[in-house]
């Protein structure tokens, strides 16, 4: 009896000292090996009288458990210590650069198109597209700009044949024509895309982007037009208040026509859109001309509505402080990196247009 208690005390003591894995295995063998002290004690149980045997067995078991727990604990302690000491030698310089990251970029024009689509989606517009090559009918005549109309001079058109039948569209308005010819009113669409005019200087580029808007219904009036554009401009520039001015103007395909200015101020040489006292022209719009509706077989006595055209590149320049239009199309790696957007920055209604 006192023997096993003694064994216990001795070994618990031993296990408390500083051990390595070999020492621990040695202790295990000494206690639980074939001729281990605890093993032997169990063997001796048989020679004890029945009454003593029960008591002794119970005590022996509890001592065994206690020692085993201690050994397991010690084992973990030793293992942890060994790993830790190994880790000491595995230290790397984590300030070394990470493996290469190849961050791509979305072009500002694409980002702005996504922003525009997201905003107009919110107020019920869907996106339509049309071909870059148009015939003169869709680009001009159907839009109430007959051949002898001086307004044609305002579009420096690229032609693809000597008869001037085929051309690169000078605006996105022919998408209006195609959309209305292929469907039935009501129409509520925007049409972003490439447009072309043979003009090239600091503020003109032979290719640029426009977004066309068209809303035709039974009683869509100029108040709706104003409301729609007001909503768009505020959402796009992400400002609460905006000063906006509608000025009478002329486009052959709308009547009445308007040009829209927004207020801005100059801060540190940059244009800040909002409530400044300067005016900046940003788009043209108006009520779709009855002649246009007739041309696409929509009855102007039953249906009416508005259309607008906005320069996408220019919107992007204003919002993101880009000075030179032509740089948009020059694929300068530095420029793309500077003005481009992370591909994961998808403009959306619920997340907001921008971070």
């Amino acid at each position: 009896m006192s023997d096993i208690k003694k064994i216990k005390d001795v070994y618990l003591n031993k296990l408390d000292s500083d051990l390595n894995i070999e020492n621990l295995n040695q202790i295990k063998t000494e206690l639980f090996g074939k001729n281990g002290q605890i093993s032997n004690s169990f063997k001796s149980l048989g020679s004890l009288p029945t009454d003593d045997r029960k008591k002794f067995a119970s005590e022996l078991n509890s001592i065994k458990d206690e020692l085993q727990d201690k050994i397991n604990f010690k084992l973990q302690e030793i293992e942890t210590k060994e790993i830790n000491s190994k880790l000491e030698n595995e230290k790397v310089d984590v300030t070394l650069p990470e493996r290469e990251i190849n961050q791509g970029k979305i072009h500002p024009v694409s980002q702005v198109i996504d922003e525009i689509s997201s905003i107009f989606s919110e107020i019920g517009f869907s996106v339509e597209e049309g071909p870059d090559i148009e015939n003169e009918h869709y680009n001009f005549t159907a839009l109430n700009t007959p051949d002898n109309h001086p307004a044609r001079d305002m579009h420096d058109t690229f032609y693809l044949d000597d008869n001037k039948e085929l051309l690169l569209r000078t605006h996105t308005s022919p998408v209006q024509i195609r959309t209305m010819l292929n469907g039935k009113p009501p129409f509520k669409i925007i049409a972003p895309g490439r447009t072309y005019r043979s003009d090239s200087d600091q503020t003109h580029s032979p290719m640029f982007h426009q977004v066309e808007g068209l809303h035709i219904d039974k009683d869509t009036n100029m108040g709706h037009l104003k409301g729609c554009l007001n909503y768009f401009i505020k959402s796009f520039f992400e400002v609460d208040k905006i000063k906006m001015r509608f000025r009478p103007s002329h486009f052959p395909f709308t009547e009445p026509s308007a040009e829209v200015d927004i207020g801005y101020e100059l801060k540190d040489g940059k244009i800040v859109i909002g409530e400044g006292d300067k005016w900046l022209e940003i788009l043209g719009c108006g009520m779709v001309h009855p002649n246009v509706l007739k041309n696409v077989k929509v009855n102007p006595d039953k249906y009416q509505g508005y259309a607008f055209g906005i320069g996408i590149d220019r919107l992007g320049m204003l919002k993101y402080g880009i000075n030179d239009l032509r740089a948009f199309f020059e694929t300068d790696y530095r420029w793309l990196n500077h003005f481009g957007f992370d591909p994961l920055d998808v403009p959306s209604n619920y997340r907001g247009l921008s971070r």
Partner: protein, 802 residues
């Protein structure tokens, strides 16, 4: 359209401030481009007196003048004019002045070693006349007490520059502008003073308009003014002409220009003595020529409207006059023309001959056909006043009557279109102020449209008139409705936006380049597509529409390489063109990469880019877009601009006819031709139009989730196959053996060389075998192993490598 506020006030009785008038102009749709102090530069020109003039020591013809410019000290000016002498009153321009004639800015400069502080100006330099021989001589009695004052008096006059839209020819005259302002409440339109001019005798030069098809002239009014003395215009007229940035020529020419700017009524003055007998307005015959006032000789085509006499063409009606019959300073008798030319005819002629004149600009937009006599009266009156002479009766030939067009206008249309209401009486007043004749019935107005408004033809035009005069600020801002008629994007559009960002997320910079390109580069990439030429390209190196995205991408890649970048990844998503037919275009992603992977990397080995880098990007993009990699099929066919041995095409399904993507090394010949210097140049293209709709949609319910927890076994094999045997085929053979058991196949080594016969290669694969029903026993595995080996050997002629 330029005019001065003073000029405007000749037609408009107003107490409004300049700034209010400017604002009103914008409000009614006459866009103000600029509103500037008339040539504030001209303030630099002072009345001056030469106090002393000495010979220049180093130049015979130059003099050094001491000039009194009204300041404490005189200034020294070197002058070459023969008339620069003591006591002359003249015009001095100080340093910094801009000489009106040539727009040269003066600086203090040394002339033959003597410093000159400014310049004494000739009339020619001041655009006052053609007199360039000497400096301006001012009359002593008028200017003796003005030394130091500004020479140009109208310095307080401000010049307004309007951008007039093509629908408003009436506002190409000051009176039209005044009328709009008056209608908008900015004043009262003054009546045109109608002095009864004395007319004597008939117009003796016979005028006829020939009856021809496509005759471009319908009214030709004229009068003779005999015994005139043409001369320099009086100061008030000169200043008017100068204020608009034009150059005074002679009284007669200046007067016709003045009437044109004032009333938008172009006129033409002929030297009557140079007209051969009679005037015939007729169509030109092909091959006729004449010398125009721009000193160019024009060769005419058929059916252009010409004014002619017995000797031939005098001028192109409404476009440009000719030199033969032009007025000169010694002209004694003039024939004044005031006509109506049909816009279409003017436009056609001027386009063909490429002539742009003030008259053409106006006639093309539509001149008031009822302003013929008004124009003649006003000009004749001024000519006789300034140049003397006798005015004949007016001769008006016409082939068409121009009566006021009528239109019925339902009052309710206004609110229906604009969304706000204007009182009926106010509507009527606006229209009357704009020159309409209004008679009203209950809910409808009967309108007679003023003849100077060719743009107004239907009720909607009336709505515009009312709303612009009333003010666009009265239009309400209605909250937009949010109801949707349709999905925002269709499937193709969704795919476009998805793929765009998918490619960008692989490290590519998105580029947007022209839809046109250089035909020389395009030829390298156009394959069998048709070249589409632009008739009038912006420059000769952007002369065709692109047949491939790569034409521009390679061009710009090279530019960036030249900027010192090495590892570049660019892509563009956009149209390529198959023909010049509208809609015959494809939407394509072109992506291109140059340089190395892991260049100068501390822990990874650098290597040149290769075909598998772009294959990965292409495939991954397609997989991300929802297509099943397992069904993809790769062929080694690709367009000729790829490296023939290191490129391929991707089919979504083996049976598809058209590939959805190409990938590979760019052909070394092209790299060389474009002079692109890089370690590796690879690219891929994805054709959006060839991508079929996904069979499985995101919104669909997913199939039941099935999985197996039975033990997996891995087996490695190495097969020796022909060198050109495709790994894809090996995988296909194995995976079709038992789709229930064979869960994955991976190629982990390709080996050619020692121990392998020539023309052969070894493909090592790892196969994972797992049952969904039980743990496989050794015998089951052995069976499938054997089956794999025997099937591969039979189907491919491969040998298992022992």
């Amino acid at each position: 359209m330029k005019f001065t506020i003073g000029w405007l006030k000749e037609h408009l009785d107003t107490k409004k401030k300049d700034s209010e008038l400017i604002e009103k102009l914008t409000d009614v749709g006459l866009e103000v481009e600029s509103f500037e102090n008339l040539n504030s530069d001209l303030d630099n020109f002072k009345v001056a007196k030469i106090i002393n003039a000495e010979q220049h020591p180093n130049a015979d013809r130059l003099r050094i003048c001491d000039v009194d410019i009204g300041q404490e000290n005189t200034v020294k000016v070197v002058c070459g004019a023969p008339n620069a002498k003591k006591d002359l009153l003249t015009v001095y321009a100080g340093p910094g002045s801009i000489i009106p004639k040539n727009n040269i800015k003066l600086t203090i400069s040394k002339i033959r070693g003597v410093t000159s502080h400014g310049m004494l100006c000739s009339e020619s330099e001041l655009n006052l006349s053609d007199e360039s021989e000497g400096i301006t001589e001012l009359k002593t009695n008028k200017y003796f007490d003005k030394i130091g004052e500004n020479f140009f008096k109208n310095k307080n006059e401000k010049v307004v520059d309007l951008s007039i839209t093509p629908n408003r020819p009436d506002c190409l005259g000051v009176r039209g502008i005044a009328r709009d302002l008056a209608a908008a409440g900015a004043g009262k339109l003054k009546n045109i003073s109608n002095k009864n001019i004395k007319k004597n005798g008939s117009q003796t030069i016979k005028v006829s308009i020939s009856k021809q098809k496509n005759q471009g002239c319908t009214v030709f009014g004229s009068c003779l003014i005999t015994g005139v003395t043409n001369k320099e215009s009086p100061k008030w007229l000169k200043e008017k002409i100068i204020s608009l940035g034009q150059k005074p020529i002679s009284a007669i020419v200046d007067i016709t220009n003045y009437v044109m700017l004032d009333l938008n009524r172009p006129l033409h003055a002929y030297d009557a003595d140079k007209i051969d007998k009679e005037i015939v307005v007729r169509n030109s015959k092909k091959g006729e020529t004449f010398e125009a006032l721009d000193n160019k000789e024009y060769k005419l085509g058929d059916d252009m409207c010409v004014i002619s006499d017995k000797s031939g063409v005098l001028g192109l009606g409404g476009v440009i006059g000719g030199t033969r019959s032009g007025t000169e300073i010694n002209t004694k008798n003039i024939l004044l023309e005031s006509a109506y030319f049909i816009p279409r005819s003017i436009r056609k002629t001027s386009k063909i001959l490429n002539i742009d004149t003030d008259a053409k600009f106006r006639f093309e937009r539509g001149i008031d056909p009822q302003s013929i006599e008004l124009g003649l009266s006003k000009a004749a009156e001024l000519i006789s006043e300034i140049c003397g002479g006798k005015i004949s009766n007016f001769d008006i030939q016409k082939t068409d009557k121009y009566e006021k067009n009528k239109i019925k206008f339902k009052l309710s249309l206004f609110e229906k279109i604009t969304g706000f209401k204007v009182n009926d009486n106010e509507i009527v007043k606006i229209l009357i102020d704009l020159g309409f004749e209004v008679s009203s019935e209950k809910l409808e107005l009967d309108l007679k449209i003023p003849t100077w408004r060719p743009d107004i033809t239907q009720p909607i035009d009336i709505v515009e008139e009312i709303v612009r005069i009333k003010g666009y600020n009265n239009i309400e801002t209605l909250e937009p409705e949010k109801t949707k008629l349709k999905d925002t994007l269709n499937k193709q559009q969704k795919l476009f936006h998805f793929l765009q960002r998918s490619v960008a997320s692989k490290g590519y910079f998105e580029s947007v380049t022209w839809s046109f390109t250089d035909s020389k580069i395009n030829n390298l990439f156009k394959e069998n597509l048709k070249e589409i030429k632009i008739v009038n390209p912006i420059s000769s190196d952007l002369d065709v529409l692109r047949n491939s995205i790569f034409a521009n991408l390679t061009f710009y890649l090279k530019k960036n390489l030249d900027r010192g970048f090495k590892d570049i990844s660019l892509f563009e998503i956009g149209p390529i063109f198959k023909s010049s037919k509208p809609g015959d275009q494809l939407t394509v992603i072109g992506a291109i990469k140059s340089g190395k992977v892991s260049r100068l990397n501390w822990n990874e080995k650098e290597r040149p880019l290769d075909v598998f880098d772009v294959k990965k990007d292409a495939i991954q993009t397609l997989v991300e877009a929802g297509y099943d990699r397992k069904s993809f099929f790769i062929r080694d066919k690709s367009p000729s601009y790829y490296h023939p041995g290191k490129s391929g095409s991707v089919y979504i399904d083996k049976d598809d006819i058209e590939p959805v993507a190409y990938f590979g090394d760019i052909h070394p010949n092209i790299v060389k031709k474009l002079d692109i210097k890089t370690e590796g140049l690879v690219g891929f293209e994805i054709y959006l139009d060839h991508l079929k709709e996904n069979k499985i949609k995101l919104k669909d319910q997913k199939p039941n989730f099935e999985y197996s927890d039975y033990q997996k076994s891995e087996r490695d094999f190495a097969f020796i196959v022909d060198k050109n045997f495709k790994a894809q085929d090996l995988i296909e053979i194995i995976s079709s053996i038992d789709q229930n058991l064979i869960k994955s196949i991976k190629i982990f080594d390709i080996y050619e060389g020692e121990n392998i016969p020539d023309n052969k290669k070894s493909i090592a694969i790892n196969v994972i075998i797992q049952s969904s029903e039980k743990t496989l026993e050794e015998s089951d595995l052995e069976k499938i192993n054997k089956l794999i080996i025997s099937t591969v050997e039979t189907k491919s002629g491969a040998k298992i490598r022992s």
